[in-house]
Structure formats: structure tokens, C-alpha cells
């Protein structure tokens, strides 16, 4: 069964590395997302696994078979890797009908005609496109084209399915629906999915593990909730979660065992962790607080002003000004606030983070604030 292993995979374009010494282990049956801002090398990674792009160095194996190795000089062509690929723009062939598009792969495998009919009919039924069999792609809506593309990819029964931002051309509502369908599909087809997206919400909701990449370098590879709660660095913390995490510059005033005193723009905060802290007094750091952990409390010691509110019915995103700093908080429920009103705030949860104040921004500690 297909387990995909990448060892030290590097792809150079001229002198710049699109993917830099990437090590990845994609277990069977998993749903992995390659997540990152555009141009970070996630699509290149996916295309290298599929065989559409040749890595500069490294080794890739699928299901125990080495499909690429720069050392051994192996490069199995894409058609022999038995993988399915769903393109961002669907890449449906405009001169073929829906049925012909779906049947194409099976014809290449020399299936008998009646078997092709049967298989195509089954897939069209599964993806609810039976009535469009004789139409051309140009006559379908975006969502329908998407389904045809999925049916075409699934037709030959690949054990691994690669998807390159398959939902980015759909409108918001359809995207939501297709997410549900994709998750169902993953369960029903019992195959391994590798999914490329720049949408952190998609990655959070769909995958069993997120692989977050920045400028060709792996940042974190962990289940979604771990990435959310225990980000490896400020980049990961900032990239995951909407609205974004609050990243505030602080100064360590004093450290005692697992407790520390932080100074935030003149305000003093107590930080308490479950572990011993390795911080130095006088050290600068970044304090990361998720917006849902900032709460309005009349007893709160911090005083802030309401800058703007974005109520959506289920929750309200409130932007606060605290001594010239911006702080975002999420208030659950149907509530709204007056702009410029003065409020007291407090920080709850023991999942607040301290990051190093440098380029890498590695996480230093996790704890509660009071």
C-alpha cells in the first residue's frame, strides 16, 4: 500500500531553491495538505511526487518503490507511478465530452468498451454528473467541471490522489460543499490524498496532517490542531488561524522557575508555564495570543479602546487599540459594541505562546497569562 517518502528532496531553479532538502513521510490512507503562501514550493513538491517535475536531488518512493533517486539515477515517468492528479484549472479537454474525458484513461489501459461504460456510469453517478455525459466542458459550470475532473482522475482507480488547489476557482458556497465531498471521497476511496492549498482553513478542516512550507523550507508537519495550538514558530502561528493570532513585542523583566514577568508597552503581565523557563531577563520576545483568548472582562487589568467591530452573527471580531498596539479579539454570540468605547480585557487559556524575537521566531514557551 502506498506510503510516500521524500528524502532530502531539493529542486533548484537556477540558483534559487524552490524546495530545499524536504523530508516528508506521508502514511497510507492519510489526507495531507501542503500549505503555504504562494510561491513557497508546495506545488513543485506535489508535481515532483507525481513525476511531472524532476527534482534536482533527493529520493522519492511511493509504496516502497523508489520512483526517483538522483543517486541511483531512477526516474519513473508519471504514467507509470499510478497516481491521480487533479489540476487547479481542472485541465479538462475541451474537445471531448464529459464521458470521453472520463473514459480516456481507461481506454489507454485497454479496457473493453462495456467495462468502460460501466465504470464511467458509476463515477458519473457517484459525482452526480450523469445527465451531463454528452456535454462539452465549456457547457458546464465551474462546480460541474470540478466534478468531471474528479471523476476523470478517479476512473483508473489510483491509490494516491494529488490535488493542486482544486477548489480555488469555485465560489465560496460551492467550495464549502466540495470540501465536505472531498472528505467523504477520501473515506470512500480509501486512498492517500495529498492536497496543495494556500487556504489555511481548507488545510485545517480537511487534512489529517498539515505540512507547512515557507520559501521551500518545511516549517512544521503535524496534525491540524497541533499546528494551531503548538505552532513551531511565529510564521506558523501567524499563517494558521483566522482572524490572525496577536503577535505582540514584549520584554522579559524577570524569570523565576516556570514563571516570568513580561512588560508589554508599559503594562506588566505575569506568565506562567507548566515547564521550567529558559528565558533571560531583559530578553526581547514575541507574545502570541489567539484572538479567542482575549476576553472582555470588567475586572481586566488592561484598558483598551474599540477600534472597529465586524459582527457576523455567530461571532464578532473586535479590533482593539491598546496603547497604540492593535489587538484582535473574537467574541462569540450575536453581540456588537460601540466604536471608541473603553473596555477592560483579560487573557485566558494556558495556550499563549512566547516566541524568540528573531528571524526564525522559534517558540520558547507556552503558558497562561494573568
Amino acid at each position: 500500500m502506498p506510503e510516500i517518502i521524500l528524502k532530502n528532496v531539493t529542486k533548484m531553479y537556477g540558483k534559487s531553491a524552490a524546495v530545499d532538502h524536504l523530508n516528508l513521510n506521508i502514511p497510507d490512507h492519510s489526507f495531507i495538505t501542503l500549505l503555504g503562501p504562494s510561491g513557497c514550493g508546495k506545488t513543485t513538491t506535489l508535481r515532483m511526487i507525481a513525476g511531472l517535475e524532476t527534482p534536482t536531488s533527493g529520493e522519492i518512493s511511493i509504496g516502497g518503490q523508489v520512483v526517483f533517486s538522483s543517486e541511483q539515477g531512477i526516474d519513473v515517468p508519471p504514467e507509470k507511478r499510478n497516481v491521480g492528479f487533479l489540476f487547479q484549472n481542472y485541465a479538462l479537454w475541451p474537445h471531448m465530452t464529459v464521458f470521453e474525458n472520463i473514459a480516456f484513461g481507461l481506454e489507454n489501459l485497454k479496457w473493453p468498451k462495456d467495462k468502460i461504460q460501466e465504470r464511467a456510469a458509476l463515477l458519473m453517478k457517484m459525482l452526480k454528473i450523469t445527465e451531463y455525459g454528452e456535454r462539452y466542458p465549456a457547457e458546464l459550470s465551474g462546480g460541474q467541471q470540478q466534478r468531471v475532473a474528479i471523476a476523470r482522475t478517479l476512473a483508473t482507480g489510483p491509490k494516491t490522489l494529488f490535488m493542486d488547489e482544486p477548489l480555488s476557482n469555485l465560489d465560496a458556497k460551492l467550495r464549502m460543499e466540495m470540501r465536505t465531498e472531498l472528505k467523504r471521497l477520501h473515506m470512500e476511496t480509501d486512498s492517500t490524498f495529498v492536497y496543495v492549498t494556500h487556504d489555511q482553513l481548507e488545510a485545517m478542516t480537511l487534512s489529517t496532517r498539515i505540512c507547512l512550507i515557507k520559501e521551500g523550507l518545511l516549517q512544521q508537519y503535524a496534525p491540524p490542531l497541533t499546528v494551531y495550538n503548538e505552532p513551531a514558530n511565529t510564521f506558523v502561528a501567524d499563517f494558521i488561524g483566522s482572524p490572525n493570532i496577536n503577535l505582540l513585542p514584549v520584554k522579559i523583566q524577570s524569570v523565576a522557575g516556570s514563571k516570568a514577568v513580561l512588560e508589554l508597552n508599559g503594562n506588566t503581565l505575569q506568565f506562567s508555564s507548566a515547564q521550567l523557563l529558559t528565558l533571560q531577563p531583559g530578553q526581547a520576545a514575541i507574545l502570541g495570543i489567539r484572538p479567542e483568548n482575549v476576553i472582555l472582562d470588567p475586572n481586566g487589568e488592561l484598558t483598551a479602546q474599540i477600534y472597529s467591530t465586524l459582527p457576523s452573527g455567530m461571532e464578532t471580531v473586535v479590533r482593539l487599540k491598546l496603547d497604540g498596539m492593535n489587538i484582535t479579539e473574537v467574541v462569540f454570540g450575536s453581540v456588537d459594541f460601540k466604536v471608541n468605547e473603553e473596555v477592560h480585557i483579560k487573557v485566558k487559556s494556558d495556550k499563549n505562546l512566547l516566541f524568540a524575537d528573531d528571524k526564525e521566531g522559534k517558540v520558547l514557551a507556552q503558558g497562561s497569562i494573568y
Binding site: A50, L52, F85, Y90, W93, F104, G105, N108, A138, N169
Partner: protein
């Protein structure tokens, strides 16, 4: 609101005024002349009075129709045989053009060939040069002495006498025209291959298709529209081509419709010529209609944006280096070598003798001797050549200015009122001259402007009629780039200025034209270059004082003054290539970028 008020409101918008004016003018210049030419096919012309007994000039007659279409052997040789020749040549031209251009496009876009930039630049040169350039070069190389005259370079160098089928007629005409349109096929097919989403082929590859299957089932169907457009253009252009069949067909009396038209219109049977012109027009129009029927809109490209990556190039392996060099040599043979032969031919005194003692600059700088070409002075001292060059340049500038400017205005107005009846009508009218074979259009203007019409004097033999026909003929190119530029720009850019109260003139000159400068410039460039190398459009309409370089070339060639013809041809090619190069460097517009 009453009618006057509505009319006033309608005409307050500049684009409406443009459309109305264009509609009226183009009706007069393109559509009504058609009626005139139809009448001409039923009329006894002055030169025909002797032939058609008992008639006077201007009488109604069915003589032309009967003689051309239904007079047994006679019709066969006047009309049916040239028609069959025309169709055979056009089909062969298309086959050669599309296969050579398509194969080259595939090599450039899909393989790891060497020197791609150089090859691509060389390949489009035959399209920039006048079509007959290769034809004359063919003659310089391969002419034989079987039909009189002196043998060409090939025979002199190898001692082999070329057979007639190889030197003249169907074969060389098709090859030369095929090579002329191959770059067009390359530009169109290559454009699609280059812009075609690589994912389409990758998707097929992942679904276990072999390279051959991908080419056959994905790539070729995708370029089918480009192949069809190339076919359409090459077929209708070679059907109306005159110079190449005239140069290469005349020595063996190989006639096509255009050469027959020229003969009859210049000779004693203009009625025949008008009828043939009419038939050429009908064929042209029906090809266009068939083309529209064939193109299936259901299979239109879905333009969903996505990142399209570079397709994996086909590895030519051991073939790579030899093939690359072979192509460079072959392309030099059809681009630089012809020019060399023109130069050589123009320097030798006694044709066919390539020994060094026979070289002389007499045909360039000689004062004119009685024993050479009736005392015609060398072309650099020849007033009629300077006159022709001057006429050519001025005519090209005038046609380019009017066609380009009208093209911008027409493009603007058509795009603004897109979908309305008037806009569609003007769009079709500006496109109509494209369907008229040049020679037939010349015939039409000859028929219409030979006599005065109300306030318009008889324009035959004047510079004005050349400027007029040139402008109308090249309007389709200019309008097309105008429409494309405007559609690409969209209406909002102009509306933003409109809302701020900026007047129309300022909107055009300060906003629209500066933004789409390059497109509009190519709308001027195409008519300029086309006009510079045009022969068949003008050949029926020139008089000695309005002769242009191309018609002089034709006349020198007809008289058998080989050296003069070669020298003038060299002059034309140099002027055309130089103009294209300068304009390309200055503005980025180039003839090989925007034609179609």
C-alpha cells in the same frame, strides 16, 4: 421624445457618429462596387464591340457568361482549366504551408532543439518579404533554357538541366507559396502550442497515454482551430495570388484565374475578367462561411486561470545537433540566399554567364546604353525608379495613415456598441475587403472609377484611386487590431474619465491611445508593409506616372529585363525588412506578431 430629439441624442455620442459615417462610406466603397461589377459582366465594353457583332458599347449581353462558363473547349481553356489550376495550387499551398509551419511550431515549442530564437526569427522572414521573392529566387536558380532564355545558377553550377515541371508551373508555385504561408501557420499553431495549458497534456500523461496518443488525441485537436484559420487564410490568399503564378507560370503558359483576369482585363475581353473577379469573390465569401460553420463553439476553450507550467520538452537525443544545424542551413537557403541571388543577378551583364568578367554595375549605376534594355539607365540613376520608390513610400504612408486611423476609430466605435445592429454591420463591412481577392478588387475599382460618378471625377490612373483602394483593402487588419485593443481595454477606463467630465478628444488622445499604443501602431504597420509589397491590387490601376516599385518590377520581368527586375526586387525587400526592423525596434510592433 420625438424622432428628431432621439436622433440628436444618438448623434451626440462620438461612437455613433463614427459608426454612421463608416457605414455610409464603406457601403459606397465596398458594397456598391459589387453591384457595378455584376453589371459589368452583362455589359458590352468598348473593346468588345468588334467581337460581339451588332452591339454597341454599354448594351446588355449574356455573351461573357456564355463564353466563359458554357462554351465547351473555349470555356475549358479560358476558365475551367485556370480554375482547376487555382484550386490545385491553393490546396497544395495549404498542405505545404500547414505541414511545414506546424512541424516547425512543434519543434520549437515541444522539443529541446538548439538555436530556437535564431530559427524562429529566420523562419518568419519569408512571410515579411513579398511572396514573389522566393518565386524570383526560384527562377534565378532553376530556370532552364527549354522554354527559351538562359539557364539559372543551378544548371550553370551542376550542368543538370531542370525539367519544366520542376522549374515552372504547379510545382514551384505551390512550394514557393507554401513556404510563404508556412510562417503564418507557425505563428498561429505555435501561439496555441505555447499558450496551451501544459496541464492538458500532463493530465493525459498521468492517465497512461503515450506520447503518440497525447499528440493525436489532445494536442492536434487543440490546434485544429489554428490549422483551420491557416487553411482559410492560405487558401484564399493563394487563390488570389498573382505575382508568383505570373512569374513562375508564364514561361510555360500555366494559367490561374488571376493571370487570366489580368490578361483579359488588360486585353480585349474585360467582360471575362469581371466575371472571373466575381467568381473569385464568391469563392472567397463561401470559404469564410464554411469556416464559420465548421468551427464548433461547443468545444470552445474553457479559460480557467491556473498556473500553467512548462511542458516537458521532447528529447531529440542524437538528432538534436544535426537537426538544428540542418534547419539553420535550410532557413538561410530560403531567406538570405534568395537575396544574394538578386544581388548577383543584378550585377551580371550577359544573363547566364556567371564568370567574374561578366560582372558589372551597369544595371545599378550605368547611364543607359542603346544596346542594353532600350537605353534604360541603371536603377540608381533612373528617374522612373526614384519616382516608383517615392510613389511606393508615399502611397504606403498614406494608406497606412488612413487605414490605421480609421481602424482605431472603427475599433473604438464597434467595441463600444458591441452587439448592436449598426456595430455588427460596420464590423462586417470593414472585414469585407478581406474577402475580396486583390486582383478582383482592383477590377472592381477599375470598373467603378473609370467613369465619373456625380461629384467624383474619373479616378482611373490617379494616385487617389491607389490610395483609396489601399486604404479600404487594409482596413480589416487595422480594424481588427483596433477592436482587439479596445475590447482588451474594456469600457471602464474610458468611463472613469467620462465621469470626471473629460471630453471625447482628450479621452482618446490622453487615455485610450497611449494605453494601447502598441496595438494601434501595429494597426498602422500592417497596412504600411502590406502596401509596400502589394502588386496585384495595384497592377490594374496604375498609369506610368503612378507606377510603384512592385508594378515596375512586374513590368521589367515581363519585358525580360532580368537584371532590373532583380535589382528592384532587392530594393523592395530591403525597404520592407528595414521598415519592419525599424518600427519593431522603435515600438515593439512587428508584422509577424499581429497578422490574421
Amino acid at each position: 421624445m420625438n424622432l428628431t430629439q432621439r436622433l440628436k441624442l444618438f448623434l451626440r455620442k462620438p461612437h455613433n457618429v463614427i459608426l454612421v459615417v463608416l457605414f455610409a462610406v464603406l457601403m459606397v466603397l465596398t458594397f456598391l462596387p459589387l453591384i457595378s461589377i455584376i453589371m459589368d459582366t452583362f455589359t458590352v465594353h468598348t473593346s468588345e464591340v468588334m467581337r460581339i457583332r451588332g452591339t454597341h458599347a454599354g448594351d446588355f449581353t449574356l455573351y461573357h457568361w456564355r463564353k466563359v462558363l458554357a462554351d465547351g473547349e473555349n470555356s475549358m481553356s479560358i476558365f475551367y482549366k485556370p480554375l482547376l489550376n487555382t484550386i490545385a495550387i491553393s490546396l497544395a499551398t495549404c498542405a505545404i504551408g500547414i505541414s511545414v509551419g506546424g512541424a516547425f511550431a512543434w519543434l520549437i515549442t515541444r522539443t529541446n532543439l538548439k538555436f530556437k530564437a535564431l530559427l524562429s526569427a529566420l523562419f518568419v522572414i519569408p512571410y515579411i518579404m513579398p511572396a514573389w521573392t522566393l518565386g524570383l529566387a526560384w527562377l534565378n536558380f532553376f530556370r532552364n533554357s527549354l522554354v527559351g532564355g538562359v539557364p539559372g545558377l543551378f544548371t550553370v553550377l551542376t550542368g543538370i538541366t531542370t525539367p519544366n515541371w520542376f522549374a515552372y508551373g504547379f510545382f514551384p508555385i505551390s512550394v514557393v507559396q507554401g513556404l510563404h504561408y508556412a510562417p503564418f501557420a507557425y505563428i498561429l499553431i505555435g501561439g496555441i502550442l505555447k499558450n496551451m495549458d501544459a496541464n492538458l497534456e500532463e493530465a493525459a500523461q498521468l492517465l497512461h497515454a503515450t506520447r503518440w496518443q497525447i499528440l493525436q488525441r489532445i494536442t492536434l485537436p487543440m490546434v485544429k482551430p489554428a490549422i483551420l484559420s491557416t487553411f482559410l487564410l492560405a487558401f484564399s490568399s493563394s487563390m488570389s495570388a498573382f505575382a508568383v503564378p505570373a512569374f513562375l507560370g508564364m514561361p510555360v503558359r500555366y494559367q490561374v484565374l488571376t493571370t487570366q483576369m489580368y490578361r483579359t482585363l488588360q486585353g480585349l475581353n474585360p467582360g471575362y475578367g469581371y466575371l472571373m473577379a466575381l467568381i473569385l469573390i464568391l469563392i472567397g465569401v463561401s470559404i469564410m462561411l464554411i469556416n464559420q460553420k465548421v468551427l464548433d463553439n461547443r468545444k470552445a476553450y474553457t479559460t480557467i486561470t491556473g498556473k500553467s507550467s512548462n511542458v516537458a520538452l521532447f528529447n531529440l537525443r542524437g538528432l538534436k545537433t544535426p537537426l538544428s544545424y540542418c534547419l539553420v542551413v535550410a532557413l538561410l537557403c530560403v531567406t538570405i540566399v534568395p537575396l544574394l541571388t538578386f544581388a548577383i543577378e543584378s550585377f551580371i551583364v550577359e544573363p547566364g554567364n556567371y564568370s567574374l568578367s561578366n560582372f558589372s554595375t551597369v544595371f545599378w549605376t550605368g547611364e543607359g546604353a542603346v544596346d542594353i534594355a532600350n537605353g534604360e539607365p541603371g536603377i540608381l540613376r533612373n528617374r522612373s525608379v526614384y519616382n516608383g520608390l517615392y510613389n511606393s513610400v508615399i502611397l504606403s504612408l498614406v494608406c497606412a495613415f488612413f487605414a490605421g486611423t480609421i481602424g482605431i476609430l472603427a475599433g473604438y466605435a464597434i467595441a463600444r456598441k458591441k452587439g448592436t445592429w449598426l456595430s455588427e454591420a460596420v464590423n462586417h463591412l470593414t472585414f469585407f475587403p478581406y474577402l475580396l481577392p486583390s486582383m478582383a478588387m482592383g477590377a472592381i475599382y477599375l470598373s467603378v472609377f473609370a467613369v465619373p460618378h456625380g461629384p467624383i471625377p474619373a479616378l482611373y490612373g490617379t494616385f487617389a484611386v491607389l490610395a483609396l483602394i489601399g486604404t479600404v483593402k487594409y482596413l480589416p487588419f487595422a480594424t481588427k487590431s483596433g477592436i482587439n485593443a479596445m475590447l482588451q481595454l474594456g469600457g471602464q477606463i474610458e468611463e472613469a474619465a467620462l465621469i470626471m467630465g473629460v471630453g471625447w478628444w482628450k479621452r482618446m488622445t490622453r487615455i485610450i491611445i497611449p494605453i494601447q499604443k502598441t496595438s494601434f501602431l501595429s494597426g498602422y504597420l500592417l497596412p504600411y508593409i502590406s502596401c509596400m509589397r502589394e502588386l496585384s491590387l495595384f497592377i490594374l490601376l496604375i498609369s506610368p506616372s503612378t507606377a510603384v516599385l512592385t508594378t515596375m518590377l512586374f513590368q521589367y520581368n515581363e519585358k525580360g529585363w532580368n537584371q532590373y527586375a532583380n535589382a528592384i526586387n532587392l530594393l523592395i525587400v530591403v525597404v520592407v525588412l528595414l521598415s519592419n526592423y525599424i518600427i519593431n525596434k522603435l515600438t515593439g510592433a512587428s508584422i509577424d506578431k499581429g497578422i490574421g
